[in-house]
């Protein structure tokens, strides 16, 4: 665990700063330095920000057509020849459609393939077909796979280099487009098997990753206003996992809460449960996530509310569990329109400004 409290530049109140297409620009930039980086896309090139690489390095962009299983195999062949292929699609397609290809063509031989999985969970407004709610479960169950779940611009930018430096398969689970900037890039350094303490408190310990981390900071601010002190532990590296960091947090809080932009089965919450239950630590525990249901097609703002991912909802659950599951009086001050995410998705905000 790294104490990253001084790297956090977002208070959890008001709106965070934002940055557009952090991933796509960074991939093109790193591709300039490393000639072995190849970019593959299965007919979702601008949608996965791979179009920026295609414009910068057209000779190293490979169009695979709408055929993800083959794209995984081609990436494996390229990696066998010493290349570093980045294969792009939406998280749902690259995992559900290609699970066997990932296992047998990439992970078993531990090949240097980078799977870029865009728009995970309910960051896609596209409904059940487009929302990967089970990708972490599949990738976690795959031996040799490294998994990084990302939702913030600074870490997304660092993740490209980290993936290149990591020898072997990496699953990059990426929220796309307009991302919040939560961390000071001079003070935050993304690493595998690392966790980051973003704020320190004694009552509630929140474990989070990806786009849920912004929500965690907002929920922590609400809890704090209600006299409940809250730690936030951010874990982008879902695998390998910083077991020690999790146990440290679990031993120092009165309630452990995990946030998953994923099913509660098989995601970060499951991973934390596995680590804690094999230890001697006893702590009340609650998972927030999709409770064994599929997503649905709607705006992000609607989906956050519907699945109870909004900060006031998270804070409310935390307070209730902390008080022995009693309904507690609670001031949130949260405006459901505050997130301003109503447009995020297919709309205009997606275009580079």
């Amino acid at each position: 665990m790294i104490d990253a409290t001084s790297a956090v530049i977002y208070s959890g109140k008001d709106k965070a700063e934002t940055k557009m297409k952090a991933y796509g620009h960074k991939l093109a930039e790193v591709g300039k330095i490393n000639n072995n980086i190849l970019c593959l896309s299965a007919d979702l090139t601008s949608q996965t920000e791979a179009d920026i690489f295609r414009s910068a390095h057209p000779e190293r962009f490979l169009s695979m057509g709408m055929a993800e299983q083959n794209m995984i195999g081609v990436s494996a062949g390229l990696a066998r020849a010493g290349e570093i292929p980045f294969a792009h699609s939406f998280a749902c397609f690259i995992t559900r459609r290609c699970f066997d290809q990932i296992a047998m063509s990439v992970a078993y031989p531990r090949l240097n393939v980078k799977l870029v999985a865009m728009m995970p969970g309910i960051s896609s407004p596209g409904g059940a077909s487009h929302q990967a709610i089970d990708d972490l479960a599949m990738m976690r169950a795959t031996p040799n796979m490294n998994i990084i779940d990302l939702g913030e611009a600074t870490e997304v930018e660092q993740a490209v280099s980290l993936a290149v430096e990591t020898d072997g398969p990496v699953y990059l689970r990426l929220r796309r487009g307009l991302l919040p900037v939560l961390f000071d890039k001079t003070k935050f350094r993304l690493e595998l098997k690392q966790s980051y303490l973003l704020r320190r408190g004694n009552d509630v310990g929140i474990i989070t990753s990806g786009l849920m981390t912004e929500r965690a900071l907002q929920a922590a601010a609400i809890l704090e206003e209600n006299g409940i002190s809250t730690s936030v532990l951010h874990i982008p590296s879902i695998k390998p996992l910083d077991d020690e960091g999790i146990l440290h947090l679990a031993s120092e809080c009165k309630l452990l809460l995990t946030l998953d932009n994923h099913s509660i089965i098989g995601g970060l919450g499951s991973a934390v449960a596995e680590v804690v239950s094999e230890s001697r630590i006893k702590v009340p525990f609650h998972r927030i996530g999709l409770r064994d249901v599929y997503g649905k097609a709607a705006s992000n703002a609607y989906l956050y509310r519907y699945f109870e991912f909004d900060p006031d909802q998270i804070a409310s659950v935390a307070a209730q569990r902390l008080e022995g599951d009693r309904v507690v009086e609670f001031k949130t001050g949260w405006d459901v329109n505050q997130a301003g995410d109503k447009e995020t998705g297919w709309g205009e905000d997606w275009k580079d400004k």
């Binding site: 490979l62 195999g73 066998r80 020849a81």
Partner: protein, 287 residues
Amino acid sequence: MLKYDEVRPGGVAADMPLDELVLDMKRSVIRMTEAAGGGYISQGFCSAEVMAVIFYRLLRLDPANPEWKQRDRFLLSVGHYAIAVYAAMEKLGFFDEEMLDTYSADGSAIEMIGSEITPGFEITGGSLAQGLSQGVGLAIAAKLRNHPWRTIVYMSDGELEEGQTWEAVMVAKHHKLDNLLAIVDVNGVQADGRIEDVTGILPIAEKWHAFGWNVLEIDGNNLDTVMSTLQDCFIPNGKPTIIVANTIMGNGITQLHGKLDVHYVKWSKENSIQALAELAREGVDNS
């Protein structure tokens, strides 16, 4: 570091007569099957001629250094045919002859279904249709970086029923991979029975034609035909090439002829005696 052009295709077997090499491979296949009490002997025998030409006349390999960077890439997509590949590799010096007796045994480096734990085995086949895609990747890399190697992917007819095959076929054509050769063994039988009774994948050659490949259809058990076809099959016309090799499951083993449940065969010493006697007659006929 070895240079590609300085390595002789076929290595130590390059000057040995092909027909004798085929007989030798078949004897090794029988030996492995008997040692394991069963195996993919039908596949070993239907593919022997094609495998012999690939390994003894076509591939540039370095058995002393299986990872030699410039080597030709032979990808066995249909991992069940590994028994024939082991026979060929042993002759080239990839491993000792005694290793053949460990075919599919507990802890052995030569598994029942070919995997890359065996030195010199390029990929882990077996989950069918994943080989061609990887071959496409290797061929693209060779074009991109001017690597000298050629990529050969060996598949079977049943495998064509997997959708991934046709994704790869489409993409190989799009990327103009004339350094890629696929060979599909058409023996007409899959696990559930005759191909035409299981589903509608036939006719095969027409489908590859339609996808824009160079298509060559041959009798895959006729050694002369196989040799004349394979020695000159990389055509620099911007298209990948497919050889449709029609073969007979368990070719030359009368115990297996005409049977449908020959995907995996249980095997005893008595089976070997009969099959070896048939092989001996074949050897006399050829001489």
